[in-house]
Amino acid sequence: MTFETKLEIFQGPLDLLLHLVKINEIDISDIPIATITDQYLQYLDLMRALDINVAGEFLVMASTLMHFKSKMLLPRQVQDLEEIEELKEEILRPLREYLLLKDAASHLASRDILYRDVFKRGTEINGRERFEEDISAEKVNLYDLMDAFRKVIKRRYPGVVIKFRAQAWSVKKKMVEVMRQLKGKRNLCFTDLFSGDSSLLELIATFLALLELVKNGSIAVFQDKVGSDIKLEALNTSPIR
């Protein structure tokens, strides 16, 4: 029985760009756009292969990046420096804006929040929800997960380029399996999920199951620092949807 999962992306092209900035360890103002463009496109390929819905915004950003790269690759004499600056701004401006908003969000979360840090009069017992920020030791996003997954694939199937879709395996079944593995344990390592003798398609189905479980709030993923092994934890809080 085939099961096709069309996962919605829960992060956008700006998150991907920020992710690339982070793993390349570069400053946002010095982004080497040509390199970033290639990496960006690789992620899009992987997302399509994983049947993750690549929303229009990703493609708009991709075309802006490629446009910029093509202008940079022109010989020095014919480069229109003004145009290049404009295109660069077109990429950097929304990114800078987005970073500011992320900071704003962090700031909001750090305030004394009602029912979490401070309380007012007249709150009924057992009535209340308190806001808790995402319980990640280090923010793990979709792209960190994809990086970890790529490493697994590279080790097990070196030289394989993922360009197909996983349809033969039931993602739903894999979701049940992952939750079962987590039962009774505090947490599980990302790499533990992919041990054993699975085929590439099965690995992909497991990965999709993982994403689905994160999305519906059944598990949380975190890593202690950039690059270290990612851990999963079962959640029994009710996620806000």
Binding site: E57, L101, D103, E132
Partner: protein, 179 residues
């Protein structure tokens, strides 16, 4: 010195659970001067700060409210049996966008975040942190969103201008880098 007005205002703040604005108090005490009421509120605020008790009067959501100190949150949470609910990064970012850029329509929010915010908007509306302010006179008459008084109350904000300006945060970020 007659501090009966002070005591009256104090009693009102105590009995209310929502933040009370000077005007609301004035409406209840028409014989008094609005300015006197404001002075009394500031006095009360200072008094409680000085007393070093487990709660104080906080200026929030354009009014004044008794609130406990963060120090005691575990005890109170335990008593109230509050259940944690995740406020995801995505929801916080969406909320920040609306807080800073209101009034704003969904399309603009999505442009800034780069992803669909439908589910998050529904959740924020349901929780009363965000409200519908109107509709924009554009094709499709898209809904305009803004934050609510409850949002201010939740995040311990006196008013919208108490949000640190985005420019301030940019500078804060630079400072951290320099250190």
């Amino acid at each position: 010195m007659d501090n009966s007005l002070k005591l009256i205002v104090e009693s009102l703040l105590f009995a209310a659970s929502e933040p009370l604005t000077p005007r609301q108090i004035h409406a209840l005490l028409p014989g008094e001067d609005l300015k006197e009421i404001k002075d009394v509120l500031e006095d009360l605020k200072k008094d409680y700060e000085g007393m070093k008790r487990s709660f104080l009067i906080r200026e929030v959501a354009r009014g004044y409210q008794f609130r406990t100190l963060p120090r005691f949150r575990t005890y109170i949470s335990k008593m109230l049996s509050t259940t944690p609910s995740r406020l995801t990064r995505a929801a916080l970012e969406t909320l920040a966008i609306i807080a800073y850029r209101q009034p704003i329509i969904r399309q603009e929010i999505e442009r800034l975040r780069g992803v669909d915010v439908g589910g998050i908007l529904r959740m924020l509306l349901k929780k009363g942190l965000v409200r519908i302010v109107g509709r924009k006179p554009l094709p499709g008459r898209p809904i305009i969103y803004g934050t609510t008084g409850k949002f201010l109350e939740f995040f311990d904000l006196k008013d919208l201008s108490s949000l640190p300006t985005l420019k301030e945060m940019e500078e804060l970020g630079d400072e951290e880098v320099e250190q």
